[in-house]
Assembly symmetry: C2
Homo-oligomer: 372 residues x 2
């Protein structure tokens, strides 16, 4: 049996600093994981990803099932080898994409029938199939199949939750690989009773980790925070907690202060491809004309390759000239910023300075110094 133990080495307030063991290395939490949807973190080589400090990397089972096919990847030696990522990998189950990307879908108790967003072909995903795909891919961490409902529709959330729980049980039963950790997913929209019910169900299921789904999907910020506080109290403390799809620095900060350990989001790389940088003092639009003669670094507080080698003027020049290098350099910075930012909060937990650090980081972000 593989070691997927999770040790909390320090706690400060509700924040936790932990070590999560996986077959491809130990993860220091809290951590932010870059997303490599199609088995590539867009515009970056794995060497660049390692250099900027990435540890856990995500890939999407839905995309890889459709193209090039999970069986194909298995035959080529699995996802780690395919995308040349020697560290820990996580695949989601495809649940979120079914409800956000697939062009047509019909949900029944047994699973989901959907049309591919690529070519309209008909496919069927069940809990057993979702596990089969993820076992073919071979990531260290795999997810149960869930149904992501609109946050404010109570009836839909209630029905979806029943299915999500039944599917989670079937995923656990279908799981065969001992070298993969399964994470159950808590759903329930903005409804405290549903969230509590889901937390209890997933906790009892006994998966190696617990994910929080259906947050930061359009609900009011106070409801996000209230839900995180409710879950912090309701969830067992001995397993890593993963808030899916959240990557804005301000959101990371509030969630870590409420007991969350893992994060992923396409935000940093998507912003990079849209000429925007994340900094500790708000976002920055690199197209800004005033930057044309700015010889300073993108972010003077950052030690990434981009910030130590290039000027804002050069980055703007690349953007205006539609050069691909701008996406690469901004992705390097944005990912490093989030990884460093999360690491800074981890350090604060280790030395018992969480509250002051959160306050300082929150104020910095609120300053919004940059042109956006």
């Amino acid at each position: 049996m593989t070691d997927f133990s999770f040790e909390i080495i320090a706690q400060d307030g509700r924040g936790r600093a932990g070590l999560f063991h996986t077959p491809h290395g130990i993860l220091e939490t809290p951590l932010f994981a870059p997303v490599g949807t199609q088995a590539t973190v867009k515009a970056l080589t794995p060497a660049q990803l390692r250099e900027l400090g990435a540890s856990l990397v995500l890939a999407n089972a839905y995309h890889l099932y459709l193209r090039p096919g999970d069986a194909q990847i298995a035959q080529l030696g699995g996802l780690h080898k395919f995308m040349d990522w020697p560290g820990p990998l996580l695949t989601d189950s495809g649940g979120f994409q079914l409800f956000s990307l697939a062009t047509q879908r019909e949900v029944d108790a047994d699973g989901v029938t959907f049309r591919s967003h690529l070519d309209g072909t008909l496919h069927r995903l069940t809990p057993e199939k979702a596990m089969g795909i993820q076992e073919n891919l071979g990531a260290d961490i795999v997810m149960t199949l869930d149904e992501c409902a609109e946050p404010y529709n109570r009836d839909y959330n209630q029905r979806a939750l029943e299915r999500t729980h039944a599917w989670a049980r079937r995923c656990l039963e279908a799981k065969t690989r001992a070298d993969q950790a399964l994470f159950g997913i808590v759903q329930g929209g903005v409804f405290p009773d549903l969230r509590r019910e889901s937390a209890e169900f997933v906790a009892a299921l006994g998966t190696s980790g617990i994910a929080i789904g259906g947050l930061s999907v359009g609900e009011a910020k106070e409801e996000t925070l209230a839900t995180l506080e409710l879950l912090d109290a309701a969830l067992p403390t001995d397993r890593p907690r993963y808030l899916m799809g959240v990557g804005a620095p301000g959101d990371l900060l509030e969630a870590i202060a409420r007991g969350v350990d893992l994060f992923d989001s396409v935000l940093p790389t998507r912003l990079a491809r849209n000429d925007a940088a994340l900094t500790r003092r708000g976002r920055m639009n690199l197209r800004w004309a005033a930057l044309a003669d700015d010889s300073g670094p993108l972010d003077p507080d950052c030690s990434c390759y981009t910030c130590t080698h290039f000027s804002r003027a050069y980055l703007r020049h690349l953007i205006v000239g539609r050069e691909m290098l701008s996406a690469t350099l901004l992705s390097i910075h944005n990912l490093r910023l989030l990884i460093d930012f999360t690491r800074e909060i981890r350090q604060a937990i280790l030395i018992g300075q969480l509250a002051g650090t959160i306050e300082r980081l929150r104020e910095g972000l609120a300053r919004g110094e940059h042109p956006t």
Copy 2:
């Protein structure tokens, strides 16, 4: 006075292995130089460029004059700093782009009036202006302003040659920076008497190096080779010879065997963005469906990052998924291939094995093993 000396350390047949001194390092010739048109070799960081073995890098004065402006780059500390290339740089004068890219142009004895391909604004380039732009950029090697005529139009070539020679003289007179080497450019189309006249003129001008322009621009291959042979005999042997815009492996090989030392071309990076790889056994189209389950390296004879870390199946997956990483990985390979290929010929010259090596490389390329 800066040291721009050129030592030929070995000669075999007509092939030369040399050392060309520049303020930013010693260049081992023959060599192939990647092109960074807009102060970036497309899809690559300077760190990746260094790792793949690049020495001399090109940038285009025409593009940088239009955007972001050569004065802007001077103010930001010059081109080396702007694009973070610590090694030798070369800028062309803009001549070639005036005749291939500008949307309108009127040539007179004094210079060229043209419209920008970016926004149609009117500009004027003279020999003095071309030198001013290149001095602002600050590359190690700069070029005289020339006029590139259609290879088979004798009248036009004769008139263009007169202007090219007069402009070369004015460039030399306008030159003020001692830390830049000026290269004169031989023109004359496919006409032996014009080429000989031009070679004699440029040789007598006494520039630090001599470029060959207007070749591989549509003329028959035998005429390219005949012109190179004529120039090899007509040009002084004590200065580096630079064949502009040539980068196909088969063309490099024939030109090195006829006494050429320097090459540049957008071919390797442009092919990379169009899913094609250069190999010693012909070109390869990575979109090919048969590669979908090919676990082998792109090119088993190559030791670049791409060939040592990824399968053909993965590269094809990136291309089919329109992932930017494919352009990066194929650019790394294509540039490394040309740099290694040129270095292999250099080594052959050093050990007196040029003829056999040329024969072997020529045969390999002719095999054309790959699907194109």
